[in-house]
Symmetry: C2
Subunit: 231 residues, 2 copies
């Protein structure tokens, strides 16, 4: 069958905004760009969409390349296609954001890409329109996290309530009343208390919790409101 005539093809790339949380700080994984132009500048991890790949597949592959991780929370954010966004060649980029458990991340791999985790407030200037992508991803995460329990994707299997609260506080850049937070979280029924404690941050130690994955899945679509509006 004939192909569409007179249509100029365009390159299609995928860029990943990768969030991680180490229990203290919300971070972004960036790589040093290996090719010209903008060589050695900080950039999102990206790549071109392969021949037999769909967009989600490309994003998964790129994420796997950089982090060694399968089964990561990944969501399409937005497609960016200004004609001049890449000075070399017309490229449309479909941006995805990923939420990963930073502990599962295999550090060896990143040497190849000169990858580094940056605290959100210390992100350097990025190439092309990647700054815009990061901002959009943050906005979307705030929007999503206000209604759905997505932030658990950033946590390790076992985590403490203080860690969880600190995560919410960083996403919304505002303090949360601890007493109301505990109430809301326990009322959601999403957490299963463990017997062990994390004693690295206090004398008393904070109990570990696990996510009840059944309930998490079941409640994901129901409009929760896990945020608080404290000063």
């Amino acid at each position: 069958m004939a192909k569409y005539s007179n249509v100029k093809p365009i390159l299609i790339a995928v860029d990943c905004i990768i969030f991680g949380y180490d229990g203290e700080h919300l971070k972004l994984l960036l790589v040093k760009r290996a090719i010209e132009p903008e060589k050695d500048k900080w950039s999102l991890m990206g790549g071109f969409v392969g021949d037999d790949e769909n967009l989600d597949g490309a994003a998964k592959r790129i994420l796997l390349e950089l982090t060694g991780l399968h089964d990561v929370y990944l969501e399409q954010l937005h497609a960016y296609g200004n004609p001049d966004r890449d000075p070399i060649e017309r490229t449309v980029s479909v941006a995805y954001f990923a939420l990963i458990d930073i502990n599962k991340y295999s550090k060896q791999i990143n040497d190849q890409y000169h990858a580094e985790w940056f605290k959100l407030k210390e992100i350097p200037k990025l190439i092309f329109d990647h700054d815009k992508m990061v901002k959009a991803a943050m906005d979307k995460i705030r929007y999503q996290a206000a209604l759905h329990p997505i932030l658990f994707e950033l946590l390790p299997k076992k985590f403490t309530i203080p860690q969880l609260q600190a995560l919410y506080e960083q996403v919304y850049d505002s303090p949360i009343d601890n007493r109301n937070f505990i109430r809301k979280i326990t009322a959601s029924g999403l957490l299963i208390k463990q017997t062990e404690k994390d004693k690295s941050n206090s004398r008393r130690g904070a109990f570990y919790f696990k996510l009840d994955k059944q309930k998490h899945k079941a409640q994901f679509q129901s409009f929760l409101n896990l945020t608080a509006k404290s000063k």
Copy 2:
């Protein structure tokens, strides 16, 4: 400067999911596909992204071509890129949804494309993955309309409260308590009552209202909740 080597270009299209509301029914504007394959099948209005166009620009152009309308509410929905989604040639489609005032729509233009408005519940089978796009658009509109006053984009300058309510009822496919609805809507302060009435649907007639565009803009980002949960 050298181009990226070994990267296969892909065609980039934009497809528009165009919603309209005639005061009675929420509708979708579809066109009869003019070219093979799937010639004469119903389809979303789409087109390829031009050389000097960004994605939003392409969507605007395509919308203008079909409807004759500028300044339409338009939002990027999702990018679709399965390798086999278009049997002719690998094409990534960026879907946009549009909310238009159906009265402003110029009927002459659509003859060229054999366009037709379909009630939401009477949409025919569409080509390629366009069904999926329509479903995603409906989901997104429900999501958005629950928090932001976007449905006003579908209404003419002057509209009645019964029309507005019927619109919400169709979007959520469930009846709304009229007394609570009026209270909520008037409390929002978004409506300005006119002196005229629409007498086409009742003896008494229903007052026309206009949208307070200042307040609409101001309140758009604040998380409203304009929906009701009546049976």
